[in-house]
Chain length 261, copies 2
């Protein structure tokens, strides 16, 4: 029996930082037919609020280090402010959204990242996704909306990469559904040249990915993002696309499709 | 057929302000057998964080006025920080908790309080509780944990009294379950004399309530709390008790039971 298609959409970048862009996206997302899941990153607001509270962001190698005070801020902003604003807007657009952190119903179990060279603090690496409860929600026409907070089942909340959450959720649900994973951000896809916003590379397989990394076309933040894409494909996710907010409208032809071969 | 017993427990006051008291309470709450729901107030932390962010609390007649900036803070603190900390701890204690605002799955629909003499800002008065989705969670051994944020289905989040949420949730679930509603705070119950912490009035019916209000024994914040109790009893909630954290241990004899007659 052919399984039902489940769309998992992750939003980040300006799509979450810009209230109008976010609202326009959510209106489109709400119209997606069939079961769907939204995963959102944190964006700028956490940094702004931390700063208003007199906290300084701690960064090592361009990655945020989450000390206890910053964990409180990201928990407030991701799981509270952003998640509930998104849920309330989706409800307005007649999408029966329900916001979740990984702690809720033990949806996403993680462990505190093991310290090698760098101590990232309360950063979580995902161990397991509880697809059973997520499926129960989907079966009842509820749309789960995940923020990027997980837990370790020992009472500790953990700050977790939203791309990873999207991939891991998509992988876990691939046993039950045909899955399509979309990474939505401010660009139209993976670009051949960062100076030309229209230079979208429409198709990237593993070989091409390695070439593009070698050539320096793919660098920095795109490397872990694409790692998550290929990891998802290798573990059973059917389709993975990267693009801007028009991706969920199913009209645009400008996006990057990832494939293994 | 006799319906199953559902316990709805609301915590507030020092039980939520004091991390150790909260943790001890949650450990006991987790051991309650059968379906259960937790509702938590906001407490001091929202005021502290608002102050760290340079916001001044606006109070009229002892009630918080929720302007947009303060709504952001209570959304962050109640739905984010407190709700997820509570959920993570309950998970640690093997209670499969799932945190909810009223916006999530449209659980609690409210409207912005109508301005008569005083504009309370983004304060919500409850219109409807969606018992269907709450029951689905309970049937799947999930324990809903409500914070005191609701929505109006037009994208607006609203700050709502946690006692009212507890009552309205208990009322809505009374069609499906035998319900017991517990209000847990720092006192052993309704006191005859505020100076004697052991002067618990063990039984209050509507007649006695009116006498106690007349005598000034019940005043200020206890009046709306008891209104919520009697409202719940009148609309089908089986048992209503007020007491301290030992209430959920089922050992204490010191608490106040409310009854209509």
């Amino acid at each position: 029996m052919k399984k039902q298609l489940l769309k998992i959409v992750k939003i980040g970048g300006n799509v979450i930082n810009d209230e109008i862009a976010l609202s326009l996206f959510l209106k489109d997302f709400a119209t997606i037919e069939g079961p769907k899941i939204l995963v959102h990153g944190g964006g700028r607001r956490a940094t702004e609020i931390a700063s208003e509270m007199g906290l300084k962001p701690k960064m090592i190698n361009g990655r945020r280090v989450t000390d206890e005070a910053n964990l409180e801020v990201v928990t407030m902003v991701y799981a509270g402010l952003l998640n509930k604003k998104i849920v309330a807007q989706l409800q307005q657009f007649s999408c029966n959204a329900l916001g979740l952190s990984g702690a809720d119903a033990n949806c996403i179990l993680a462990h505190k990242r093991i310290v090698k060279d760098i101590d990232y603090g309360f950063a979580g690496d995902v161990d397991a996704v509880n697809s059973e409860i997520i499926d129960i929600l989907l079966q009842n026409n509820v749309t789960p909306v995940f923020c990027a907070i997980t837990h370790d089942k020992n009472g500790q909340l953990l700050n977790t990469n939203a791309d990873t959450i999207a991939s891991e959720v998509a992988i876990a649900l691939s046993d039950l559904y045909e899955t399509e994973l979309n990474f939505v951000f401010e660009l139209k896809g993976v670009l051949q040249s960062i100076d030309d916003k229209n230079s979208v590379i429409t198709q990237i397989n593993l070989n091409k990915y390695e070439q593009l990394v070698e050539q320096g076309v793919i660098s920095e933040g795109m490397i872990p993002k694409l790692y998550n894409c290929f990891n998802a494909l290798e573990k059973g996710v059917g389709i993975v696309k990267i693009g801007d907010a028009t991706l969920v409208q199913n009209e645009t032809k400008f996006y990057t499709t990832l494939s293994l071969k």
